[in-house]
């Protein structure tokens, strides 16, 4: 048992720390709220040059051959200043879906430019009636000559407004809710019959509602067998939310402590009041607990599917409970200033709300792992 970072991992963290400080302080996230894309291709390219997008991919597609644990170290740091580039969306959601299902040629063609920071990707898996169920798919794909055409609507596709390629889940057989019959397709952003409606999200980033009206798609992997891949990338997304949430909690905790140390009322620093000190300690406790379970999530991301799902669901439930607690208490301890748009804590508050709702919320994950056989295997 060892949770220490090795020298390579330490270097990764240090590089990321200095990058977010210099290239993407939180003021940048604030400014980009008003930008149509919401992120910057030049910064994305720099992230590619640093090799971050290569981390979980094998060398055969230009990857580094690392693990999810490495990715989680980066994501944690991106959380500290709310870096808006579509890292999780491109690397873990769409990227890993392509790696798990695409042919060698497809992997090379779709992943290599993304790894270099030249393109970005999006996963279009959920629909209006899906909530968090990746098998609730009504979008259909039909054979058209050599290829396929897709019809349907995909909902809240993260980075869908800016991605060069979408990975779209569609039914090639079966009914809504069935695990069999779901396939993945790569759809280019300029495909005829593809309509992309940009949607502004609470945290200032963007997603898309994607309408497919006979858009051409390229089948990725075996027909009808994508459910396990979707399970896995949703788990990776949830584990990444744990890492990002960590960065947010740590930042909000220390931002709040600093406020308690400097703000004066009744002629003294408010941090001398025990009522406030104990609330700050509870923020610290929740931050440490969420960190502990996010380590669990990072390690279990590569475990067999059942174990992965069971443990990541627990970690995501903890992250959501702790994360909400920390940003809400942090806001309270800031007083009125915490509820102004001008103060940064509101940006972290909003992003945490998003992380809670992404890749399965607390109720979903509690429900999921407690319905698994492990839950009652005594």
């Amino acid at each position: 048992m060892n949770f220490e970072l090795n020298d390579d991992e330490k270097m990764l963290v240090e590089t990321a720390q200095s990058f977010v400080k210099k290239e993407s302080p939180v003021s940048r996230a604030r400014k980009l709220r008003d930008d149509e894309t919401g992120w910057d291709r030049a910064v994305w390219k720099k992230m590619g040059d640093l090799g971050w997008m290569s981390l979980p991919f094998p060398e055969s597609v230009g990857g580094f051959g690392g693990s999810f644990a490495d990715v989680s170290l980066i994501v944690d740091q991106l959380g500290t200043t709310l870096v808006p580039e579509p890292y999780v969306e491109s690397v873990l959601l769409a990227g890993m879906a392509i790696l798990r299902s695409g042919s060698a040629a497809q992997q090379e063609r779709l992943l290599a430019p993304m790894i270099a920071g030249e393109t970005s990707l999006a996963l279009a898996a959920l629909e209006r009636t899906s909530r968090y169920d990746v098998t609730a798919v009504d979008t259909r794909a039909e054979k058209a000559g050599e290829g396929w055409t897709l019809k349907g609507e995909k909902y809240f596709v993260l980075n869908g407004h800016a991605a060069d390629h979408l990975v779209v889940s569609a039914r090639t057989s079966g009914k809504h809710g069935e695990r069999n019959g779901i396939s993945l397709f790569a759809v280019g952003k300029d495909a005829a019959g593809l309509k992309i409606q940009r949607v502004k999200m609470m945290d200032g980033r963007h997603a898309a509602i994607v309408t497919l009206e006979g858009a051409a798609g390229e089948l990725l992997g075996a027909e009808g067998a994508a459910a396990p891949v979707l399970d896995e990338v949703m788990d990776l997304g949830a584990a990444a939310a744990c890492a990002e949430g960590n960065g947010i909690m740590r930042t909000v905790l220390w931002m709040t402590v600093e406020y308690l140390r400097t703000r004066e009322q009744f002629g003294v620093k408010i941090g001398t009041f025990q009522a406030l000190q104990h609330r700050a300690v509870d923020m610290f406790i929740e931050t440490e607990l969420a960190k502990s379970t996010s380590i669990l999530a990072a390690i279990k991301a590569s475990a067999p599917a059942d174990e992965r799902a069971y443990e990541i669901s627990k970690a995501k439930a903890q992250l959501t409970a702790s994360g909400h607690f920390v940003v809400r208490e942090g806001t309270q301890l800031h007083g009125g200033i915490g509820v102004t748009d001008e103060h940064d804590i509101g940006l972290y508050f909003k992003r945490m709300q998003m992380l809670g709702a992404l890749h399965g919320d607390q109720d979903f994950h509690l429900q999921r792992f407690s319905s698994m056989p492990q839950f009652t295997a005594l």
Binding site: L260, R261, A280, I285, L378
Partner: protein, 395 residues
Amino acid sequence: MDMSFSPEHVAFREEVRTWIAKTLPEDLAKIAAVDGHFEHTDTMRWHKLLAQKSWIAPNWPEEYGGPGWDATRRFIFNEELELAGTPPLSPFGLMMVGPLIIQFGSDAQKQRFLPKILAGEEVWCQGYSEPNAGSDLASLQTRADDDGSGNFTVNGQKTWTTYAQYADWIFLLVRTDNSAKQKQQGISFLLVDMKTEGVIAKPFLTTGGTPAFCETWFENAIVPKENLVGPLHGGWTLAKALLGHERTLIAAVGQSSRMLRRVKKIALETTASGKRLIDDPAIRLRIARMEVKLRSIEMANFRTLAGAQLGHAPGPESSILKIRGSEVIQQMFELAMDVMGPSSMTWFNEPGVVPPDQEYLGSVFNYIRASTIYGGSNEIQRNVISKMILGLSSK
């Protein structure tokens, strides 16, 4: 990062588990199987079996009779005891005064006291708190005056002297210098034979209905000076030294895991309106929430353990273990009561009123409220974290 145990540690766990199953006497195993109540005599029988195996003092150095285990083996051993539900050992000799004598005691004191602690021939209790010195321990007033002929005369009252009625010896914090500028100065650490004339221990009931608590009075009790451990007036250093010991044990993760399993078992075996309780979504989600909380504590514990195994001082993550561990064990029992439903109303009945594994839970449910109070109340713990980790001052 790696959260697996090494093959040697896995084999060690198996060895411990097998040994416990083989060695725990049948009547005690029956009590353990239903999380029942162990008497003092049960505890001491188990103590002696562990002592025969030389597994009684995992945290003692080898030269004093410890088994020479690393931090991970100590953790695994403790976890296996908790998971098996063996009688909880009295911590006062093994975990408290023993390590202090090893660290601060004279050779004569080591030879006199340590072997008898190991063998379970002498039982200890703790004399720290007083009626007017609880969380503010340094305000203690029990006095030990030099009588000029090689003895101290001890006068005063100690409270929460848990199981003093069974104890042969008590270790005391006493005031030896009233003129010291700070109240932490002028305190000494003294060992007192409970048979000394003028020492009176009186048990009283906890809310759990067990006689765990005691008050102990000292009326002109004569204590030889050779029973002073560490420097005269230097007792506060000893009191503080105890706080850093074995932090991974304080989270009660094993006990909480065992209770979670118990709660699930009850929910699987109890039916309401023809449906198993576990299939009631409201109940199942409450259990799921507790499993999440337990897992987070367990991971924080693992992080502390992994650091200890590498020889690192406990990091910030370990400071939260007492607070959250004690809250979680309480919440486990709260949940147990709710899952028991009407059965939770029983109190020390004849067998057969409720299933055997539910008979004693109500008692512990009551007593476990102490877990957030003893060992430094959780509010005191929060003060410490606020000051030491968050850097918030009280002035």
